[in-house]
């Protein structure tokens, strides 16, 4: 089964650009990334796109499809009507380099600011003992493939360039939560999350969790628990509000 589909793909670079229209063959079972590859091979050899595994495991092919942050390799063409025009644009929160490729260095800068795992003193390699139930909490966050779709969609930075300095974004606040919940990590990270990485900016709208292709409950399992622990020492009205609205105990 194949048909000719209509696509609009953003072409351009840091100086500017526009949506370009294409008619492309679409076959049974294909995903948006297949269509982009066919465009490259047949109509636009220099169309810039990042991709690696094509199986939702590496987090390279992030873009906005009909305005929604998604992985191109995990967006099946069968989710659109044959007559529908599919629009593919680069992630909006990051500066464009070319076409669908953006400058995601913001994320690597933020990653470098999170203090690394602090191994417990006096425990030799091979002597680490942890219960499965205890590692599972952090393991959920380590499923993260760093596609940065949560960073892209988070309204704290999406249309607020000025917040980027003070806000690490959901991915790296979750990284702090992951380390804080690591059974053997030797640092206390709660204060730091609030004071240095902007946890207080988050008003738990859960947009990050909604776009996560790994279905990690970023807000419920990482950010809200962090806020709750911070609030042990510091009052935060949002946590109370969140508790009421979401009926979390």
């Amino acid at each position: 089964m194949s048909y000719h589909g209509s696509f609009r793909v953003w072409r351009g670079d840091a100086e500017g650009g526009d949506l370009a229209d294409y008619e492309v063959e679409v076959n049974d079972g294909e995903v948006v990334l297949d269509i982009v590859h066919r465009l490259q091979a047949t109509q636009a050899g220099d169309l810039a796109v990042r991709w690696n595994c094509k199986a939702g495991k590496c987090g390279s092919c992030s873009a906005e499809i009909n305005g929604r942050p998604r992985l191109m390799c995990m967006t099946r063409m069968s989710t659109f009507a044959e007559s529908e025009t599919v629009t593919v644009t680069p992630m909006r929160t990051f500066p464009v380099i070319k076409d669908l490729v953006t400058d995601v260095s913001f994320n690597y800068t933020k990653a470098a600011q999170v203090p690394s795992f602090a191994p417990p003193a006096g425990v030799a390699p091979g002597e680490y003992r942890m219960a499965q139930v205890d590692v599972e909490r952090s393991q959920e966050f380590r499923k993260c493939i760093e596609c940065f779709l949560c960073q892209d969609t988070c309204h704290v930075v999406r249309d607020h360039e000025e917040n980027k300095q003070a806000f690490a974004g959901p991915r790296f606040l979750m990284r702090i939560a992951e380390l804080d919940m690591h059974p053997l990590d030797a640092l206390d990270r709660k204060r730091q999350a609030q004071d240095e990485h902007g946890l207080g900016f988050c008003n738990i709208t859960k947009c990050c969790s909604e776009v996560c292709p790994e279905h990690i409950k970023i807000t419920d399992n990482a950010l809200i628990p962090m806020k709750e622990r911070v609030v042990d020492r510091k009052y935060d009205p949002l946590v109370r509000l969140g508790r009421t609205i979401l009926r979390r105990d």
Binding site: G29, D46, N52, C58, Y108, F117, P125, R142
Partner: protein
């Protein structure tokens, strides 16, 4: 020319940022070297994330009978005794320490009830041996090493007294491709030349030691589990620098890749499905693997379903299921079933876990497989079987290296580790032995390179003519009007290798593949690309094709020369495994634009390692004269 190019100076340059490259960089930096890592993709996106099942290491956490000798024995059996035995020994001895070390970097493996690292069953491994995190172990490995690198950078920044982002002695160059190695007049490594993908601008790295950690070659084949990065760059860089490749005929076709829909054909389905109870069935519902146990493995594998099923819970008193034979055996069996007309609707066979494990268990142990099939094929693996078939997954052949230091043959200052290095896995790699290989030999390469640099009296110089040549070659596709489309040529190369040098080979077909390659090489000289230098995938592909063609020629020439069937090399016209061929390595080098292959004898195995096997078993592999 030289002064226009962005230039960096380092002691050790690591090309490739997967498991082997990152572990090598950590080792070199910890040895005090100013180190740089070059990634073709973004930092943390390497192909290592695709490894699902686990890291093989004989920690003995689940079955305390396990030890390095048993692991060594399994590895040699899996490779049909063609392995470099010293590499297999070092690998088996050091793997547990390398895994435990990851925990000190922050890795979180699944646990046993007493809180140790849990270990799972896998094809060819006698005991549960694979440390794992569900079915996303590769991601855990890459993220852990990535975070360790950031941690070392933070240490440097603290020492230097400035903020958290200074990179100090360990620098990462993301989205950067190396096109040529640069050599001194005496033929020693002096640096590397490449371009930044983002801008298309050239970049020069001056370094007396280069570690190749570029992974594999799968993008020369049509049906593959490999990403666009796997274009044999390190293999080709080594060849062009004058080094040699070992046993390139051995390609692992993983038995279980997805077969439908067409756009995902080849994507990996982890062996853990079988390790955790899944079985292969043909269209008649028969567990056909019982029909394909070769003589050399009869002693270790069950011959009936009842015993095979008991083995999952009682390994002391039962033999293992043939669903977990080494990958080459399973891939050939699937191929035969499909050819005999007993395949699944889309040309594979069935892999069934839904009838054997509860949905909760499947979701817990195989979450990403569940996700992958649900999202990409509309198949719920807790309710229905998967359709699977062989996919080009891994190259056993690679750069000829010294086992202890990872130094590449013939080129001082060149090192190689991970998939790009040859020898370790012989003619077939066991699942789980790749991630441990990356760690063991990545570390050894980092230390080997550091020792080499410390022993140098002076740094090798380079000539500017090399730079001019490298720059001219790289820009050539922009100069040609109306030439060949790189995507078209790539497509034809993949089809040719898949059809003619694939899982089952024949002299006539391989000869045809070599004829095709001659034609492709001529056409490759006329590749032309549109657009500019900034992030231009067509241009990148045109440059990568040079590497794919060189590597494909080595594969085809070696496949033609080896007249036997062993591991990842099956000749229809020479179906038997020949002891006389076991002690022969095929060594590829470059003679001008053409690859050549010669035979080279393998050094005999050390006596104490030979003693780990019974004479009966050795007799299946070795010639009469070699037997103890």
């Amino acid at each position: 020319m030289t002064d226009e190019i962005e230039t960096h100076h380092h002691d050790v340059l690591v090309i490739g940022a997967g498991g082997a490259g990152l572990r090598a960089a950590i080792a070199a930096r910890e040895a005090g070297m100013r180190t740089a890592v070059i990634c073709k993709s973004l930092f943390g996106k390497a192909h290592t994330v695709m490894a699902e099942g686990g890291i093989a290491a004989s920690m003995g956490n689940v079955n305390s009978n396990d030890n390095w000798q048993v692991h060594f024995r399994d590895t040699m059996r899996g490779g049909k005794f063609l392995n470099n035995w010293r590499m297999a020994e070092l690998h088996a001895r050091e793997a547990p320490e390398r895994v435990w070390e990851l925990e000190t970097y922050g890795a979180l493996f699944d646990r046993t009830p007493d809180g140790r690292i849990s270990q799972r069953n896998f094809g060819g491994h006698e005991y549960p041996r694979l440390a794992h995190v569900g079915d996303r172990t590769g991601l855990e490995l890459i993220r852990t090493l990535q975070q360790k690198i950031v941690s070392l950078q933070q240490d440097d920044a603290r020492e230097n007294g400035h903020g958290g982002t200074a990179e100090g002695k360990l620098k990462v160059f993301a989205e950067c491709t190396v096109t040529d190695l640069l050599l001194s007049d005496s033929g020693a490594v002096a640096g590397a030349f490449g371009y930044r993908r983002e801008s298309g601008q050239f970049v020069l790295f001056r370094a007396p030691a280069v570690i190749l950690a570029t992974g594999g070659i799968g993008k020369s084949f049509k049906v593959t589990s490999n990403s666009w990065e796997y274009t044999g760059d390190g293999h080709a860089l080594a060849l062009r620098a004058g080094s040699t490749l070992l046993n390139m005929e051995f390609i692992q076709f993983h038995p279980t890749g997805m077969v439908w829909p067409p756009s995902v054909k080849g994507i990996l389905v982890t062996e853990s499905v079988r390790g955790d109870g899944g079985v292969l069935r043909n269209s008649e519902g028969r567990r056909f693997m019982f029909d394909y146990v070769p003589d050399v493995f009869r002693a270790q594998y069950a011959d009936n379903e009842a015993e095979a099923d008991r083995w999952y819970t009682d390994q002391a008193n039962n033999k293992r299921t043939p669903d977990l034979l080494p990958r080459d055996e399973v891939a050939r069996a699937i191929n035969s079933e499909v050819k005999a007309g007993r395949g699944s609707p889309h040309g594979g066979v069935f892999l069934d876990i839904s009838s054997r494990r509860s949905p909760a268990e499947i979701l817990k142990k195989l979450p990403s497989m569940h996700h992958q099939f649900k999202e990409l094929a509309d198949v719920d693996i807790t309710r229905e079987p998967m359709e699977v078939g062989p996919t080009c997954h891994y190259v056993m052949g690679g750069v000829e290296v010294d086992p202890d230091t990872a130094a590449a043959a013939r080129v001082p200052g060149l090192f190689a580790a991970g998939e790009v290095a040859g020898g370790m896995h012989g003619s077939n790699r066991l699942g789980g032995n790749s991630l441990s290989d990356l760690l063991v030999f990545g570390r050894r390469a980092g230390i080997g390179a550091a020792d080499y640099v410390r022993g140098l009296r002076e740094r090798p110089g380079l000539t500017s003519a090399q730079l001019d040549d490298a720059a001219r070659d790289a820009l050539a596709p922009f100069e040609r009007d109306g030439g060949e489309n790189p995507y078209t040529l790539h497509h034809e190369l993949q089809q040719s290798m898949n059809d003619l040098v694939g899982i089952i080979r024949h002299r006539d077909e391989v000869e045809q593949a070599l004829k095709n390659l001659d034609e492709f090489k001529i056409r490759a000289a006329h590749l032309a690309v549109d657009g500019g230098r900034r992030f231009n995938p067509g241009w990148h592909l045109a440059l990568d094709l040079r590497n794919m063609l060189a590597v494909s020629e080595c594969i085809a020439r070696a496949a033609l020369m080896r007249e036997e069937s062993r591991g990842g090399h099956t000749r229809d016209d020479f179906p038997a495994m020949e002891p006389a061929w076991r002690k022969v390595n095929l060594v590829c080098s470059l003679d001008g634009a053409d690859a050549q292959v010669v035979r080279q004898d393998m050094p005999p195995m050390r006596a104490d390692l030979i003693d780990l096997f019974g004479r009966d078993e050795l007799a299946k592999y070795l010639t009469e004269e070699e037997l103890p």
